[in-house]
Assembly symmetry: C3
Homo-oligomer: 323 residues x 3
């Protein structure tokens, strides 16, 4: 694996999931692999799970991880080609990235979208410039439009749950529903885009997406899924429900609905096949998801977040083996 | 040891002090103990000594330490049960703590009091929720009402000094005085509460507390100590003077006095048995303590702060042995 | 080597350069040297290259590096002797530094000038107090007036380039020109002072400094160099051009010129002996240096920044051997 920016960088999803679960069973089995290798974790935005799990994954492989909060500990970066830098940005990515490329063996980066300029966000301008100028493998810790480490974790968690409840699902494909949920702030489409992209690429599920009108995700990610505005219909007989808010893609970055009836409740769970509930976290309790769901037995959200370590470890391992 | 939140978690204070002094003599003697173990150090508030000494202690034991400034690097946490999270908090401790519990083997947390709601602060709501939801040992790096790593350090430092000046004290118990000092800001009662709790539990001192009227600490911590508003009387023949400001417990969080006559001076030291002077740091020079004391030969404050490493190392060692 | 604050701490520049290049060829050759040794990296100001390269250098030598952003993660420091600390500073360097000295084996510090009080800045009050009170070796990560790790890197990079293009320069000394460049903010004189100090001490170059009127650097650093206000004349036949902005030393901290004709261009490069272009970074593109230069083949700026690791590693190695 050269970079890890989206599902397109993965040759075999199931093999990667298997590798991750092997690390979960035996975290330190390959501590020599990363000997004298170093990962730089660059944060242009806040992060908890991604920040911690990536450091832990690197350490499990014997790598050294150095974290750098580029905005607060360093300088504001410029990404415009040809910019006359007489404003607030202090350093151009063209100058910073090649140096990172010399300091580290792998570069991991978190960089959120502006949610103001769709074309710019969807060009993945920021992370693509790091790839272009760093000259070493780049791992997305969530970029403007995707969050592949989260999605890999999600597939791992679904696979684990299926293994544990095979009898419930039987030999059929599990039914997975991605449902929009309300939120108080305009959020990126990353997690939803990425989940759709991965579940479609994985191909081992009956996959539905449900959301209010105006919340259609970009077709490049959803193609292959059934899309409906009728949440109840979507939830029927679902085995997994992935709950997530996102702001509108069409009316870019806007909040079009705060309709609380879209919040998943225990009542709605009754429509499902005793579905497992997932969320990437952080979650706004009693806005996106009710306490009863989060604290109930159907939630596999803590497991999901804990699997972040093994997803990251599998990805870093693949990259280490290629350098 | 399961958690380290107060003196109540310690089975044998003297044994723990002895262990700390053994590490001081030989810091790397148990570097295999923490092999493949990981401590997460969560800071909801600033920290220097605690931050650095805990990382060092962990490394001395061969552990990996990961520091996370949760407010600035991650998300603001919610601690209210049942909250409808449509405000500024982004993640509930109920969701964050279990994940920390899966990522780490030990969780260390600093969380200051609000100084606004005494009942809430004294319920130790924040750190107790981490204990409740993390499911792994939790070490207090200073909580709303206590600072046990500081107090353990203080007992270690007193024990060391007694060893070094046995002749001066003789066979009698040392006289230890905790004296209030002025400050420009309302400070927590943590260090004073905790010092009182530990010295009382230790039981090997003649222990007095002196402060202006209105500054009585909670009785649960001071019970066993002699309390007086007459500083001069308290200082008479003292062997150790612990200087510390705290805001009022009764008129909760308020500054009732800025009386500079409470600042310890060389003149006042003459009342004592050439007492050693202690302070937890940071100290406001010439407000809490004069330059002449801080720069004089009676101060053992640097030693005290340096012993923070060995206190933390002894505690982490005890916990590692129990997991 | 006891401290690393300026070129005066270096017994033999060429030997240190040679050591750095040996580490570049074999980064992990002395990983046992720093075993159980610890460096504390204190940042009172932002940093990217220095922050990352120092951590990497320490790890390459087997040391543990602990980073501490003292202002944001800890407390604001007081540096005035005798201060009555009833304002915004929380801890005196006299109290903090000795503890750092006990926690670490080496202390590395970044502390910028105020650019308001020249006498204070040029007394190097901040870093000198750390040296005075810490009691362990101190490494400057850039202080009020100097940036020795940058300058060592610069000499390493020049030496490397000379090795690679010996035929071009022949047996003569290379001509090195330090040229002022415009900038939008008042910058410290550190990098320019330090570069001048090192090139003069190195003695193996024909060294010129060129800048607009009013931008003369302190003579203690420039003595030995030819100084001219005619940039074109200075650039003639130059082998290396070091581009850097600084604010005025005479009219302390002020911007006296924003004359864009001082920005190096490809046109000006024609005056030189196909000179290599250097800059310490971060650089304001198209203000200090044009895109055409930065993206062109004459720039050795990425190499220069990458050499920061080997400079730091050589310095830490020298210090480790002396403790």
């Amino acid at each position: 694996m050269k970079n890890f920016l989206s599902v397109h960088d993965v040759a075999d999803i199931n093999a990667l999931v298997k590798k991750a679960l092997a690390y979960k069973a035996s975290p330190f089995s390959e501590k020599a692999l990363g000997q004298n290798k170093r990962i730089g974790c660059l944060f242009l935005n806040p992060s908890m799970r991604t920040r911690l799990s990536t450091q832990i994954a690197a350490q499990n492989l014997g790598m050294e991880a150095i974290v750098f909060n580029i905005g607060s500990e360093g300088w504001a970066l410029e990404f415009e080609d040809g910019a006359i830098m007489n404003g607030t940005t202090v350093e151009h990515v063209k100058d910073a990235a090649p140096i990172m490329g010399n300091y580290f063996d792998i570069l991991a980066i978190r960089t959120f979208p502006s949610l103001k300029d769709r074309e710019e966000d969807y060009s993945e301008k920021y992370i693509r410039q790091f790839v272009k100028y760093a000259g070493i493998p780049v791992v997305s810790l969530e970029s403007a439009t995707l969050h592949p480490l989260q999605s890999l974790t999600d597939v791992i968690t679904i696979q684990e749950a299926i293994g544990n409840q095979q009898s419930a699902i039987g030999n059929a494909k599990p039914k997975i529903v991605l449902t929009w949920a309300p939120h108080v702030k305009p959020l990126p489409q990353c997690v939803a885009n990425s989940f759709a992209q991965w579940i479609n690429a994985w191909g081992e599920a009956d996959f539905l997406i449900t959301h209010p009108e105006g919340y259609d995700l970009a077709e490049e990610f959803t193609r292959g899924a059934t899309i409906t505005h009728n949440q109840d219909e979507a939830l029927e007989n679902a085995d997994f429900i992935y709950v997530k808010n996102w702001s509108s893609y069409q009316q870019y970055g806007q909040i079009l609905s705060t309709d609380q009836s879209w919040m998943l409740t225990s009542e709605k769970l009754k429509l499902t096949n005793n579905a497992k509930v997932m969320h990437c976290l952080p979650v706004r309790r009693n806005v996106e998801l009710s306490d009863e769901i989060l604290d109930g037995t159907n939630s596999i959200i803590t497991k999901e977040a804990s699997n972040r370590v093994w997803a990251a470890q599998a990805v870093l391992s693949e990259i280490l083996q290629s350098i």
